[in-house]
């Protein structure tokens, strides 16, 4: 069923959007939150086969017991501090009870009334330079659930599936859930604020080095709560919670979509159902999930298998002293260091490529070259395919590509072909160049022979060049490049053409 949508501007005229976010960050510790099983969110264990990163606790075997991962606690405190939160002097785990086959104990160990971090704020910067402060309610530690794959049925969803497979590798991965307070006053920038907020959390997490923060891998997951209230009304409207929003771009789109959808319903005199909704990347729409009410009873109670976590003030101060710079400050620094013009820098930020350019520069590329790759060819392909640029190629490979150009091994054009191979998973740029035989032809005699052949084939052109119409050389250059299958330096070919024409 297709949702009716109200025009965005009209929706904003009539309603005020209020947002709230729950962002889950998978911590990249070596082991899981409560056991020594390897953590699939750690780079060493990305490609594990299903159900191989498990132990008695990951499977909820009888008699198994949780033990808190000290590193995960340190990471959580560091994240809390970076979110300008207070760090609890004593923090407790609680059991959240619900039956679901991806939850091996049929309860999740989470935190309820005593989170590790609370009362913070994050400053985000919009494209036009405006800064918005997002109030943070809490950041708490918990464990991830396993992953279900629904087999059979058309949608890959549980409805209509024949059976489901469950992979418990992810069960027990350390998570920090960051919960905002309601965000007012976003107005027509609300979708952009949403995106900027998630991007900022991602930047913070990356700068802390506590997670790879790759949304497409689920390292960073965002649930977006949106409600509308008619202009002039005090009480908040009914909210929906959109899940499965797995890219920055989607966060923006999903919020925009929900504003338009809810506005249409409210304007027609309807009511919003409090529910979770699923975001569909392909259609750019949301669809209803399960009805959710505040009365969902998880029967929280303090986890009796664990002691309270009481971080010493010394530890908190030690971690505070190690905090990296805040994202807004970092942006300003990078812009200055790279010497980008305002528009150039905005392009990078809007394309969510700051960290990609930074990593590429870190891998040895000149800032401008790095920028051109990401906001140019890579962004074009990403756009074409409707995916995130970061999923297409590693920054290190982009830097390598540029190095090959700088060394004269590849021309710009050959480099683009090499990039295509890299994006197709054929290997590193050097490997692709070797495999595809991409290399600038530097053999002078071969070039001269090709030029002579082309000139001989086009005597009229030869005459024009001799008559001083140098631009006519283009046709010959084209023929030579074609003969060389593009693997020649065009400037060099041009020089040879002019030289041989006068011979």
């Amino acid at each position: 069923m297709k949702d009716r949508l109200m025009d965005f501007d009209e929706a904003l005229e009539r309603f005020e959007p209020v947002m709230g976010f729950e962002v889950h960050v998978e911590l990249g510790t070596r082991t899981k939150m409560f056991s020594a099983a390897p953590n699939p969110a750690h780079p060493d264990f990305h490609d594990a086969e299903p159900n191989t990163l498990v132990d008695p606790l990951s499977l909820g075997l009888p008699g198994s017991l949780p033990v808190v991962n000290e590193q995960a606690v340190r990471y959580s405190i560091a994240l809390g501090l970076a979110l300008n939160c207070e760090i609890a002097t004593s923090s407790r785990f609680a059991r959240k009870n619900y039956f679901y086959p991806d939850t091996p104990k049929n309860y999740q160990i989470s935190q309820y009334d005593e989170p590790i971090a609370f009362e913070g704020s994050v400053e985000v910067e919009l494209a036009d330079g405006r800064r918005v402060t997002i109030p943070i309610e809490r950041a708490h530690m918990e464990e991830d659930a396993g992953k279900l794959t629904h087999v059979g049925g058309a949608t890959g969803r549980i409805q209509g599936a024949e059976y489901s497979l469950v992979d418990y590798n992810r069960a027990g991965v350390p998570l920090v859930e960051i919960v905002t307070k309601p965000i007012f006053g976003g107005e027509r920038s609300a979708p952009e604020i949403a995106k900027a907020y998630v991007a900022t959390i991602r930047d913070i997490v990356l700068s802390l080095g506590i997670s790879e923060a790759r949304m497409e891998r689920g390292n960073l997951r965002c649930d977006a709560n949106v409600s509308l209230r008619p202009r002039g009304q005090e009480a908040l409207g009914t909210r929906t919670e959109t899940k499965n929003v797995n890219s920055m771009r989607s966060v923006e789109r999903a919020v925009r979509y929900e504003i338009q959808r809810q506005a249409a319903i409210l304007a027609a005199g309807g009511t919003i159902v409090q529910e979770t909704r699923h975001w569909h990347e392909d259609t750019g729409t949301t669809s209803p999930g399960r009805p959710k009410s505040d009365a969902d009873d998880y029967r929280y109670f303090p986890e009796p298998d664990l002691l309270p976590v009481a971080p010493s003030r010394e530890l908190v101060e030690e971690l505070r002293a190690q905090l990296p710079e805040q994202p807004v400050a970092r942006r300003r620094r990078l812009k200055a260091e790279w010497g980008f013009a305002d528009l150039e820098f905005q392009d990078v930020v809007n394309g969510d490529m700051l960290h990609l350019v930074e990593a590429t520069v870190g891998a040895g590329a000149a800032p401008q070259a790095a920028r051109k790759w990401w906001t140019g060819e890579i962004a074009r392909v990403a756009n074409e395919r409707g995916v995130e640029a970061s999923t297409l190629v590693e920054p290190a490979h982009v830097a390598e590509l540029q190095r090959l150009i700088d060394e004269g091994t590849l021309t710009d054009r050959l480099a683009r072909q090499a990039l295509e191979g890299v994006m197709a998973g054929e290997g590193s740029p050097s490997e692709v160049a070797a495999a595809r035989g991409l290399q600038v032809v530097t053999d002078e005699s071969a070039l001269v022979a090709a030029v002579d052949e082309a000139l001989a084939a086009q005597p009229d052109v030869l005459q024009k060049i001799r008559d001083g119409k140098v631009q006519a050389a283009g046709a010959v250059i084209g023929a030579v490049m074609k003969a060389m299958r593009g693997q020649a330096d065009a400037a060099r070919v041009r020089a040879i053409v002019l030289d041989r024409a006068q011979a």
């Binding site: 008695p56 009888p62 008699g63 049929n106 418990y168 109670f301 009796p304 298998d305 002691l307």
Partner: protein, 510 residues
Amino acid sequence: MSGLRAEPADLTRLAGHELAGLLASGEVSSVEATQAHLDRIAAVDGELHAFLHVNAGALDAARAIDERRAAGEQLHELAGAPIAIKDVLCTIGMPSTSGSRILEGWVPPYDATVVARVKAAGLVALGKTNMDEFAMGSSTEHSAYGPTRNPWDPERIPGGSGGGSAAAVAAFEAPFALGSDTGGSIRQPAAVTGTVGVKPTYGGVSRYGAIALASSLDQVGPVTRTVLDSALIHDVIGGHDPHDSTSLDREWPSFAAAAREGAASGSLQGVRVGIVKELDAEGTADDVQARFRETVDVLTAAGAEVVEVSCPSFAYSVAAYYLILPAEASSNLARFDSVRFGLRVEGPGQTVEDVMAATREAGFGAEVKRRIILGTYALSAGYYDAYYGSAQKVRTLIQRDFDAAFEQADLLISPAAPTTAFKLGEKLDDPLAMYVNDITTIPANLAGIPGMGLPMGLGDDGMPVGLQLLAPMFEDERLYRAGAAIEALLADRWGGILTTKAPALTEATR
């Protein structure tokens, strides 16, 4: 009443430490000791049903110990001695069902820490002992695999939930056993079978691999025929375990040394012994009362200073216990859903919820369902504060009562159970009567303090009567020191420990 005396050759009649002595000196091999107990099990367990599973690898394990000893290896003082393991504990290679149909045939891929520790000490696992399903019960009648009978009178219950371990030890099927005590499941079976059982300080022994009933109350401990034997096992299984966050990281004294000193002195000179007024109440049977008074006299004669203490909050302990336990159990038992292990019952429906529901319906017994429902209710939004919250407050009050009582006394004593063993089926239809039976043992679990059950004579019906000793948190040593002294004093009166007076079970045992 024949076959009272142990024949010198009958290895099953020896106390655990005596058998261990023969093993250590090489007079007896572990294979001989293990075979003797396997024979005893074969002879009597058809009638008693103390074991759910007998370890087919026991003799191989015994042989391995003998070989290591023959090779001159320095072994633990208990190496080669057999031990029975309550089915609540996870054991590699042996089914671990916690007495439930829902785990029928489930063989864990890992050993509970206590199991790993007894194995590392060279003890030989004889098998898994029967219990009330998920340790919910006081009679072992709630086992999904049928009840265990009391070796003193097979018409009677052996206590619970650890009736299997207590009966196995009382019937000379094993010199040592492991139990678990959530509200008295070690101490009460010990009391009604004439054996010794200890619930250590909460956190003193690892719970890793013990199938959880109520995490904040469960504690693993020894079941034996003598105080020294319990101390020896406690020394083996106790101490910090990094796999259990609630396990205490502290140095513990040798409990065996304390027991030996206590037995040698036979004195309670200067020990302040408190009688808890509230546990010395009307519900206690006359014969139990009589044995208790006689025991108090023995203690007094041995130099103890007996005082009366009051713990007024104990009146709420059963109510609080039956909220906290079901609440935690309802969550702990949620994992039994057919998805990853254990029973799977395909219901009429197709969805995972249908299968979960059908499995839990078929796999859990009535008592387990009763407590899951109770606990789910107690944790529900809107009821949490009134039930679970209030119960936790009572818990704090009980801890304060104990703190105050231990200002006046070094040890507290009470009958370990209000009556001798009742008949099978007698209380099965009356869960409340069964719950109230736990009144003497429950407060120790709520407070986390250590307690011991040990024999103090026979009732008018010829059945064992048990004494309970309680010590302050971390002071398990006091239980062993005083317990061994009391045991020695009473043995002097009886001419031996109480279990030597147990009637023989079958012709085959004579």
